[in-house]
Symmetry: C2
Subunit: 335 residues, 2 copies
């Protein structure tokens, strides 16, 4: 029986779906449930990782330290993991997190910018942490480019590299092509992180495993930005059906969903038109609100703006371009 | 560009999710929206098809005739389709439906019982209808058996044959194996109908197309029994991304979802524990309530009952066995 390692991101990526407002007590309770269910690794914190709590990314209910302190007490077996996006979080943030028993850090960069994570990986390895390179918006780069960036992470000393479909924009063939290219380029375990904007989170995760991924992400009830992530309890059931061992007890994780996660959800995790537009356009989730405002102002369709932003391969921080795109679309409409 | 025909089942399979309570006016309005969006075929009626409105299957708000009369006026281009499950609906029901401009009938049987649909297919063909064989619970039979039953439908004169994953229990490899076996056995177009209980409705639909299916089902917002069907607007987006032509305008069908379907939904279409249990067990959806009652009475887990019912390949009508299974499980627990 092949083993698949599952990293649970409910208490990190799922925070996007609750405006980062879980209390440390809620997190601790959910983490204890996951731990008892056999979850291998639990990622914790603001949706944008260490240092994410800010005016720009939204303030979380509590600080990184408060969350980590609560979780550290609640978890007996599972590894505690943090996400670190260089530019949002710092090495100092990681150093502080380490004092709470964090065992794993995922260093997340844009798919073409692994180099900005070099020192973070190196620092983590020097201090005995597991360090995972996490290539966000992987749909924006062709397989060979993703593989090249994975090799960079390997050269910094990473223990594993993730292909991350941040916008939920990939189809199974695209996932397979990227995982295969990375597998041929590096010797490390390969991970895959999905979003469900095109309804393909579970399907893409299976495609990734088929192509050689051995670490995959999920969130209980699919809690996450946009249409959410791969629904963990569903993934556990499917992996069992296919003969993979995740170490997670199916009934226990279903119970965590019903008893602990559902009560804290602000909205059902469905594929809304907005989430679908993001996935179809392959655009940054945070562009949505800006696009809707610009659409109204210039009398164009927000979906057309998002598609054009995706086509231009724009990344977080380039929100200013949305107005330009809206004006261009309005002109085209008139002529 | 390859063409994929999409049959919309929102106003038939989706009726399960609204306890068959749509009014003819609501149906007409939604059908008009779909028609304008370019939907090729619209299936209409009680969730269990012609004659489904009954004490056993639940009464629908209006009669088959009232629904069909309203739809016939609302639809300009799309083909109107009805589902006929021999034993629930009759040839007389079909004859009555034909007077409202029905162009297509899907004759639905258990995957191993195509023969009970022989006369219905023959009647439909004799009267100039398009007739599609619809093999329900296809996960319960191995690929060669599904292919054998598809050949039977072909021999009766069917225009196409569907592989139907009624319990949302299949994984992509199982779908491919069945579609491939059917493709090798018959010359007709092959259809695929998915449910999302394992989060694989879209992924399985793509697997079916890859294996040779050219007709696929969807429902707007995924409206349907259990975790629902393949979400149509998501499917349209994914097909566009992959270069398939469905004839459906993406923005228009998204708008139908937001403006016409969301307002009539009774609950969000998510993967609940109950839906997941059905998909994982490969059991009849209608077993769920019985299993939950028996579980409480005998102090066992409803999920174990469903899994055992699936393992025994029980079919609709065998609800009595649920008590036996519960008793067996309770005994095993004690010993």
């Amino acid at each position: 029986m092949k083993t698949i390692r599952v990293i649970d991101a409910t208490l990190r990526d799922g925070m996007h779906a609750v405006s980062h407002q879980l209390t440390p007590e809620q997190m601790a309770q959910i983490a204890a449930g996951m731990d008892a269910a056999g979850v291998d690794t639990i990622e914790v914190g603001h949706g944008d990782g260490l240092g994410g709590s800010s005016l720009q990314y939204g303030f979380s209910r509590a600080s990184d330290k408060e969350y980590l302190a609560a979780i550290a007490k609640a978890v007996k077996k599972a590894k505690i993991d943090v996400l670190l996006i260089p530019g949002i979080g710092t090495i100092e943030d990681l150093e502080a997190a380490m004092t709470y028993g964090v065992k794993t850090v995922r260093v997340a960069t844009h798919v073409t910018e692994a180099d900005v994570g070099a020192q973070h990986i190196e620092f983590a390895k020097k201090h005995g942490l597991e360090a995972i390179g996490f290539l966000m918006m992987s749909h924006m780069a062709p397989p060979e480019k993703v593989a090249e960036q994975a090799k960079l992470f390997e050269s910094y000393g990473a223990d594993a590299v993730y292909v991350t479909d941040s916008a939920g924009a990939m189809v199974p063939g695209e996932v397979k092509a990227r995982i295969t290219a990375v597998r041929e380029a590096i010797k490390l375990p390969i991970g895959f992180h999905a979003h469900n904007n095109l309804g393909l989170a579970v399907g893409n995760t299976l495609a990734a495993i088929e192509a050689g991924a051995s670490i995959v992400d999920g969130t209980v009830r699919g809690l996450g930005a946009g249409a959410g992530n791969t629904q963990l309890e569903v993934l556990v059931a499917v992996l069992k059906r296919l003969g993979y061992e995740s170490g997670i007890d199916l009934y226990s994780i279903m119970d965590v969903g019903e008893q602990l996660v559902e009560p804290i959800m602000q909205r059902p995790q469905v594929i809304s038109n907005a989430a679908l537009a993001i996935g179809y356009a392959g655009a940054y989730g945070s562009f949505l609100l800006h696009a809707q405002r610009a659409a109204e102002k210039f009398g164009v369709d927000a979906r057309d703006i998002l598609i054009e932003m995706g086509r231009r391969k724009t990344v977080g921080g380039q929100e200013d371009l949305i107005i330009d795109v809206a004006i261009d679309l309005a002109k085209t409409k008139q002529s």
